[in-house]
């Protein structure tokens, strides 16, 4: 009962306030880089912490740009760029604790960064050498999930397990505006609510699901979806790293303290194409992008840092240097990333073995060997 009433309270009291029909975004830093206060969500960071967020976003964007280049050069088969979503990802990722657990989509490169996942790990699947392959438990960062929405249920189940263990960790499930239409996401909401699971549903509404605008998924703001499932939702300015950090921290804290799930909608924008194979000129106007450029998450923080005198030229130069080093490391790492061994096809299909796999492996090895023989013979 207490959860229910909290939920109801939160929904009306929280970020859901409307002014002239449009829902209010939780915002702590305006697009012009001005620091503002919010009645419910606040944050107090040291200059060093603020610089840290800036660094995270710059390095993430650089990594992303490098990946796009690598794709153009044929080193990657595909890339899903996070350009424009740095604040949503860095802010939410930095809100997590090491013992929290993250369930990403395929675009959470910034979140991965905050979890200390080696960027090279993320590139394997886009290069085509594996389907992910990192150890999710190393950084409590699950594998990228491509089937839209699936991971929200995994996150909910994981959170149910956390609660069973009596741990005070929380779980965060990322998904997109498009994903909000999938039945799996709705079922995740139901399970999370019914079991009061410590999970935060973090929706990056980047306005587009490939070529479809968010209006094709919902007629009302997505953050309003959760109230009808019995937990609160809030919309945060997804290009404001401070607001995202504050809101996500609060949501995770809520989960941690037994108050159940919460939905955070980070209102942001996919500045680039859906992936490197996509051509957004077919379906959206340049002006839209230009409008959103004015809200750039990195520029905004930089303006604030500069206004406050929290960072100087030397600092920016050092970040630039770090960016170059990261880019080089990524470039070199990708180019020298070994192809998997052919016989890897048969590995890890099962943990406890399977006769048919063994048989096919043996037959295929023999088949491959027959070429070697031929070569030797001739």
């Amino acid at each position: 009962m207490s959860v229910k009433s909290t939920a109801a309270r939160r929904t009306t009291r929280g970020g859901a306030k409307r002014r002239g029909g449009e829902p209010e975004l939780v915002q702590l830093l305006t697009p012009e880089g001005k620091r503002v206060e919010h009645s419910e969500y606040s944050i107090d960071l040291t200059p060093e912490e603020l610089r840290g967020l800036y660094r995270d976003m710059v390095l993430t964007r650089r990594f992303d740009a490098e990946a796009i280049t690598l794709q153009r050069q044929g080193e990657l088969g595909l890339w899903a760029s996070l350009l424009g979503q740095e604040a949503a990802q860095i802010g939410s990722g930095r809100a997590t604790r090491p013992d929290d657990y993250v369930f990403p989509t395929y675009r959470e490169h910034g979140v991965a960064w905050t979890r200390d996942v080696d960027p090279l790990n993320l590139l394997g699947m886009f290069r085509g050498v594996n389907h992910g392959g990192w150890d999710p438990n190393e950084n409590n960062f699950h594998l990228y999930t491509i089937v839209i929405g699936s991971q929200t249920l995994h996150a909910t189940g994981y959170a149910m397990g956390v609660a069973k263990d009596g741990a005070d960790s929380a779980v965060i499930a990322y998904f997109g505006d498009g994903a909000s239409s999938q039945g799996d996401v709705a079922e995740a909401f139901t399970f999370a609510a019914v079991y009061n699971a410590p999970v935060v549903f973090f929706c990056q509404n980047n306005q587009w699901a490939i070529s479809e605008p968010t209006a094709m998924q919902s007629r009302v703001p997505i953050y309003q979806r959760s109230a009808g499932y019995g937990f609160p939702g809030v919309r945060v300015d997804g290009n404001d790293v401070l607001a995202v950090l504050a809101v996500t921290k609060a949501a995770l804290e809520r989960a941690r303290t037994g108050q159940g799930p919460m939905l955070v909608e980070a209102f942001t924008y996919r500045m680039g194409a859906h992936t490197t194979t996509d051509d957004p000129t077919r379906y959206r106007a340049d002006e839209e992008r230009e409008q959103w450029e004015l809200k750039d998450p990195i520029l905004r923080l930089k303006t604030y840092l500069e206004a406050e005198g929290f960072a100087d030229e030397a600092y920016y130069a050092s970040i630039e240097k770090e960016s170059d080093a990261l880019a080089k490391r990524v470039r070199d790492g990708v180019r020298t990333m070994p192809n998997p061994d052919t016989m890897a096809i048969f590995e890890n299909v099962y943990a406890d073995g399977h006769a048919l796999v063994d048989e096919e492996r043996a037959q295929f090895a023999e088949y491959l060997a027959s070429f070697a023989d031929e070569t030797e013979e001739h």
Binding site: N130, H131, G132, G133, W134, D135, P136, N137, H142, L143, T145, V147, S150, T152, L153, H154, A155, T156, G157, Y158, A159, M160, G161, V162, K164, D165, G183, D184, E187, A188, T190, F191, V194, E347, N348, V349, Y350, A351, D352, H354, A355, L356, V357
Partner: protein, 324 residues
């Protein structure tokens, strides 16, 4: 050794698994107070609590999806799907997530999830309650698929499935739930994925699993009175399938009839026919024949006796195979 029904044997297996391993959880619709619509979980929530025997919302994708999450957290969920026809909402999670997670992680995570499905017909039920969808799982790399035919196997195969670190689709032949058999809960069981020659014979091999093993044994008994010696192989496991045991039998009998309830077209019999023909090409005196469901939706209850492979249809196939 105790005599019990298959339902009770499954219940005992779940109880023992819950008792032995604190990470084992049961999840499903109505499995708590009700004990499941077939009472397979009867009394377990009372004894192990709501934290371990978990009634779920009515959403199969949600059940399997959260079971995956629980497995990632170190639990060993045993999911009950209420009837065969209701596994399909969960099919996406099973095929694209559960079956692939271990490979996706290059072995770094395991998926010890058992999905129990009461399946197949013969109980006079309405639509969606009598189906045999095993092909749809056995075809999927990453899944294991088994089906016991008797109480003793039900007990041990379920315990072994729960102990297995891979996802196992566990098909329970619902019309055999009330059949009694001896169950030895102290025995050292054989391997989970090994077939068993249930009756020895020399003239022809009948291969079956789950609900059809009993039909084949009856057919073999009937054939005996006509002087025909049929061997019956209980496959037990559909993925992997123990082709060695079938092959050994066919090399002896030189004839094979496969029997299952699922539609013949792309039923498991197709794979057995293809593979055994390849393995025993020079031994077979007749093509592998198949007896199974028709290429039609499972019919209304008043037609199921005609639809289901029974004694007569099995013996008809035996006759045809022996006529070669």
């Amino acid at each position: 050794m105790t005599t019990m029904t298959m339902a009770k044997a499954l219940n005992e297996a779940l109880r023992q698994s819950l008792d032995t391993d604190p990470k084992v959880l049961l999840m499903g619709e109505d499995i708590g107070k009700l004990g499941g619509v077939f009472r397979i979980t009867d009394g377990l929530q009372k004894d192990f609590g709501e934290e371990r025997v978990i009634d779920t919302p009515l959403a199969e994708s949600g059940i399997v999806g959260t079971a995956i999450g629980l497995a990632l957290r170190g639990y060993r969920p045993v999911v009950e799907i209420q009837f065969d026809g209701f596994v399909f909402p969960a099919y996406d999670q099973i095929v694209t997530q559960l079956a692939k997670m271990h490979a996706r992680a290059l072995g770094k995570v395991k998926m010890p999830v058992v999905i129990r499905i009461p399946y197949a017909g013969g109980i006079g039920a309405v639509e969606h309650h009598s189906e045999s969808p095993e092909t749809l799982f056995a075809h999927i790399p990453g899944l294991k698929v088994v089906s016991p035919s008797n109480a003793q196997d039900a007990y041990w195969m379920l315990r072994q499935s729960i102990d297995c670190d891979d996802p196992v689709i566990f098909f329970e032949p619902k019309r055999r739930y009330w059949d009694k058999g001896e169950v030895d809960t102290e025995a050292i069981p054989g391997p989970l994925h090994k077939a068993r020659v249930t009756r020895e014979g020399t003239d022809l091999t009948l291969a079956a699993y789950g609900p059809m093993v009993k039909v084949c044994l009856e057919a073999a008994a009937a054939a005996e009175s006509e002087g025909r010696s049929l061997e019956v192989v209980d496959l037990r496991s559909l993925s992997p399938m123990d082709f060695d045991t079938i092959q050994a039998s066919v090399e002896k009998t030189r004839r094979l009839v496969v029997v299952h309830e699922a539609p013949v077209f792309l039923g498991t019999g197709a794979e057995i026919a293809a593979r055994i023909t390849e393995r025993c090409f020079y031994h077979l005196e007749a093509p592998v024949l198949r007896v199974g469901g028709f290429h039609a939706p499972y019919p209304p209850a008043r037609l199921e006796e005609e639809y289901l492979p029974g004694l007569d249809r099995v013996l008809d196939a035996v006759d045809r195979a022996l006529a070669y």
